[in-house]
Subunit: 253 residues, 2 copies
DNA sequence: AAGTGGTCTAGACCACTCA
DNA sequence: GAGTGGTCTAGACCACTTG
């Protein structure tokens, strides 16, 4: 008796769609996540145990487990053997995802603007060969852009793309994010390896970002790979540190 | 016929320990990861399909899937439905994990040194209440340390801990990392929410880090939670950007 | 002793890709 | 049509925590 569980309202799980394309574990996870965000499941509260939850919803335990695991990976829930599953304290914050600055700005309600500073094809040098895994001397595409929001410059974006993207439309780059354009060509990003650091701004960067020369810039360099495992983009970006930072949630596996 | 698979050597999977505490999926994942690192499975090569691999090893498909999923989450493998599983191109790089600077330095072969600049208990102000979820006015522990390696200063570490850690030994802090001490007290970090940014160094910071006043520092603020979901640490760190940066691998889920 | 999550099995059906 | 990964089921046994 006296289960100290936070029994989730039954009607939270009605309308599960077993025929549509959305997996059951995803539907469950979404509903639990919503309950956490709207306070139905406050920080520290315990979830019903996996077996009981499965029975109540008419789902197998592995399916329930998978749903819960999604939220554990997001840093919303913590599991302890012999104890149960609880909601993590502390405000929820979005994890670092495989997104672009353009999408970050869009999501936060700002309107990103892009000025293409230069775009040209050139032979891949040693560093590009290393980062993109293309043949030496390949005709890779170099792009240099200035990204702003509300008229205020936020970042300088230097990117190099493999030869297959050499025909990328410069005009489209001014209107859309690079990742949007790549997706439109059927490329889906799957893995990215990146490094975040800082350094003093060069005078050129200071001019473009409207900051004092020698003051700090936040830097990020990233190589992104598509779902076939090939490198599709190498970028070196620098950000105005008063306008941008990287937020992330780490989970011990 | 003509499977273009990279058949893994059978003997790579002998000696699986079914009675020990190490899960089978973990043993499998470790061996595949080793094969990727030592070149047995080169970038772009295909893995044997899940069912066949399971049969060959006498394991069920879910177990094999779990092993592969571990490596997909690490960014080492990519899966495509109808196609197969392949090794990602590009050099492997460690993912950002829930570790401390102390452990980062140890792992890279350097010997971390710590100077405790100050350590004192004080009443929790509004910000601390917000970050740690403690009661207002609680006697929290403030620690300020300078972390070096090889005699060169690398970072200034400001941390605040909940009242239960107010008796932390200052001498121990000079010899061990904060996370090591917490683990020794039975605390295991599970989730951390952090933000990485940059700014100009204050003159005090510049003095401690042996850099020019006003030059860039890399900053990270983090709140860490234990396996019960309670906040156990809030830190605000600043790093010499020429000596430290954050490396990570992102995977689209 | 009772309750919890952690692991594992042996299947099943489906959606997608490619020849 | 053959092969691949994606999802789901209905159990089983175990390790750990708490009373």
């Amino acid at each position: 008796m006296s289960a100290p569980n936070q029994a989730l309202p039954v009607d939270m799980f009605i309308d599960l769609d077993r025929s549509g394309p959305v997996p059951l574990y995803f539907q469950i996870a979404s509903r639990i996540e919503a309950a956490i965000h709207d306070g139905t499941l406050p920080p520290g509260s315990r979830l019903e145990n996996e077996v009981a939850l499965g029975n109540r919803l008419g789902l197998s335990r592995p399916t329930i487990r998978r749903a819960i695991q999604e939220l554990v990976d997001k840093g919303l829930l913590v599991r302890r053997r012999g104890i149960g599953t609880q909601v993590v304290h502390g405000k929820v914050s979005r994890s670092v995802e495989l997104t672009s600055l353009y999408e970050d700005l869009e999501r936060s309600g700002r309107t990103p603007e892009t000025r293409v500073l230069s775009i040209e094809t050139g032979e891949a040098d040693e560093r590009v060969v290393e980062e993109l895994g293309v043949d030496a001397g390949s005709a890779v595409l170099h792009i240099r852009r200035l990204r702003s929001a509300g008229g205020v410059p936020i970042a300088i974006l230097d990117n190099v793309l493999p030869p297959e993207f050499a025909d990328l439309d410069p005009d489209a780059l001014a209107k859309h994010g690079l990742y949007q354009l790549l997706r439109a060509r059927g490329v889906t990003m799957r893995v990215a390896k990146q490094r975040i650091g800082a350094r003093d701004a060069t005078s050129q960067e200071a001019g473009l970002l409207d900051i004092r020369k020698g003051s700090a810039v936040l830097t990020m360099s990233r190589t992104a790979f598509d779902n076939s495992g090939r490198a599709v983009e190498w970028g070196q970006h620098c950000y105005r540190p008063d306008l941008y930072s990287f937020e992330m949630t780490l989970v011990e596996r």
